[in-house]
């Protein structure tokens, strides 16, 4: 099992969700975040003073999947999230030791 952590542009959430569902991944947890990277932030000017906004709104999607569909899942995320412009984000894959469904105490592949 792997945890796929995808950092994407917020307005791409719907597309990524749809892409994941298409390949049968239908459980995920979504977190609002702020990102810093090559994509430069911007400045806002209020009453003549400049304020630099370094961190840009990003959305983190976490989904735990079986090892064999990691590749398909990351591909789906890329397809859903890609705009081709800087700041599209990253996907990280982390190992997961085990999973439990709280409601039923099912374990691992049954749980996700």
């Amino acid at each position: 099992m792997k945890l796929i952590k995808a950092i994407i542009k917020p307005f791409k959430l719907e597309d990524v969700k749809a892409a994941l569902e298409e390949i049968g991944v239908s459980g995920m947890t979504v977190i609002e975040a702020k990102g810093y990277g090559r994509q430069k932030g911007h400045t806002e000017i209020y009453r003549g003073s400049e304020y630099t906004i370094d961190f840009l709104p990003k959305t983190v999607i976490e989904t735990v999947v079986e090892d064999d569909i990691v590749a398909k899942a990351t591909e789906a995320i890329v397809n859903g999230a890609k705009t081709g412009k800087i700041g599209d984000g990253k996907i990280f894959v982390l190992p997961v030791d085990s999973a439990i469904r709280i409601r039923t105490q099912e374990k691992d592949s049954e749980a996700i």
Binding site: I45, Y46, R47, G48, S49
Partner: protein, 429 residues
């Protein structure tokens, strides 16, 4: 003939409620009274919650509640002190410099006392709302770092040393009033005093941590707009209420106030658009306030043309002053009290010397001399600026000695809401 007379008499008796006679023979006009009660509510509304929201939206979320707290506490303190003796110091006869204590605790004023065509108690209440908002304007200079004890002490002293005497000079029959200074609704009394004091207090307090490079953006620009809108609406009470009557001049005051606000807003918006590439909400409503502050002293004298000129000047000059104070002077007058209110109030006080003239649609008589008036206005400005400045420095020294001015760095980092007031603004679970 006789029946006619009788009828008139009857009519008159019926009309009496409208022309209640005060014990000293002068009459309360119910229409004027109705408007000034309303105006009093409007001016209170300007501070609570208008100004509180205007300022509160501009600070970081961790200091938002402290700004509201300052507004409420200052309003309450000013109200109590007003009744206790500030009204007396401002509006009793006294000397050319300050009133006396003869009306302390409103001694001798009752339901039947009359001031012009309204109850004197209403005049007391209306003016009280001015004594509330003026020190509240200064909040903008010291947000996010001043000790709450110091806020209270500063405000109390300031009302005695600055507000009461200057009010007496200009509106209470004091020396500036005798000299003929024009300050219809408080360019000098309200905006110049608050603006200068704000600048000096901001300087004394030192900038906020992170100034000027690492400050955060206004935490809710929408709230700034809501506050500004309330200030705008309330300002009708402030300026048109200062006529103390519901008449044609009150209508003119309302109209020129509104026009100046509109023109200043658009001016600010277009400058910002041109300079920064985008017209912003905080900008346009700051223009609104600049336009309102600037027309304030002139709103009893100018016509629509004058209002357009004042509005344009306000938007233009106050816009650039914001940059100058923070950029060139490096003073963290955090919410631009001086650049908007101080500069606006002074600007309007000077411009009215010209724009009151009939050529500009003003209501000055034929024998009005703009230059002579300008001299009087300039004396007024200098006197108010100098006196406000000196008194503020003294008050700052007292506060430093008794309470200290500024919270610790840790408290500032945590935010005043939690460190000074033990509360947090947003608990959305």
């Amino acid at each position: 003939m006789f029946t006619k007379l009788t009828k008139i008499t009857i009519l008159f008796i019926l009309a009496l409620p409208a022309v209640l006679l005060a014990s000293d023979g002068s009459a309360i006009n119910s229409g004027d009274t109705a408007w000034i009660i309303t105006a009093t509510a409007l001016v209170l509304f300007m501070t609570l919650p208008g100004l509180a929201l205007f300022y509160g939206g501009l600070v970081r979320s961790k200091n938002y509640l402290s700004v509201l707290m300052h507004n409420v506490a200052i309003a309450c303190m000013a109200s109590v002190l007003w009744v206790v003796c500030l009204y007396s110091l401002a509006f009793s006869e006294g000397s050319a410099w300050v009133g006396d204590f003869s009306k302390a605790f409103l001694a001798g004023i009752n339901q039947d006392s009359v001031s012009g065509s309204i109850p004197e108690l209403l005049f007391v209440g209306f003016q009280m709302t001015f004594a509330i908002i003026t020190p509240a304007l200064i909040i903008g200079a010291f947000v996010e770092r001043m000790k709450f004890t110091a806020v209270l002490l500063f405000t109390g002293l300031w009302l005695f040393l600055v507000y009461a005497p200057v009010t007496h000079w200009v509106w209470g029959g004091g020396w500036l009033s005798k000299m003929g200074v024009i300050d219809f609704a408080g360019g000098l009394v309200v905006h110049a005093t608050a603006g200068i004091s704000a600048l000096l207090l901001a300087k004394a307090l030192q900038p906020r941590n992170g100034f000027p490079d690492r400050l955060s953006v206004p935490h809710q620009p929408g709230m700034v707009m809501v506050g500004a809108s309330m200030l705008w609406v309330g300002w009708f009470g402030f300026n048109a209420g200062s006529q103390l009557a519901a008449d044609g001049q009150a209508a003119m005051s309302l109209l020129v106030t509104h026009i100046s606000a509109s023109v200043a807003s658009l001016t600010w918006m277009f400058i910002e658009w041109k300079k920064n590439g985008k017209p912003g909400l905080v900008g346009i409503v700051t223009g609104t306030i600049a336009g309102l502050a600037t027309i304030t002293p002139a709103s009893g004298s100018v016509g629509p043309i004058g209002a357009i000129i004042i509005g344009f000047s306000a938007g233009f000059i106050c816009f650039y002053m914001c940059g100058i104070v923070k950029g060139a002077l490096k003073i963290d007058d955090s919410l631009d009290v001086f650049a908007v209110h101080g500069v606006g109030g002074i600007l309007g006080t000077l411009l009215v010397a010209f724009l009151a003239a009939a050529q500009f649609g003003g209501n000055a008589g034929a024998d009005f001399s703009a230059l002579a008036q300008l001299k009087v206005q300039a004396i007024g400005v200098v006197a108010v600026v100098v006196w406000s400045g000196i008194a503020t420095l003294i008050i700052i020294a007292i506060c430093k000695a008794l309470t200290g001015l500024r919270v610790s760095e840790e408290e500032e980092t945590i935010g005043l809401d939690e460190s000074e007031h033990g509360e947090n603004a947003y608990n959305l679970d």
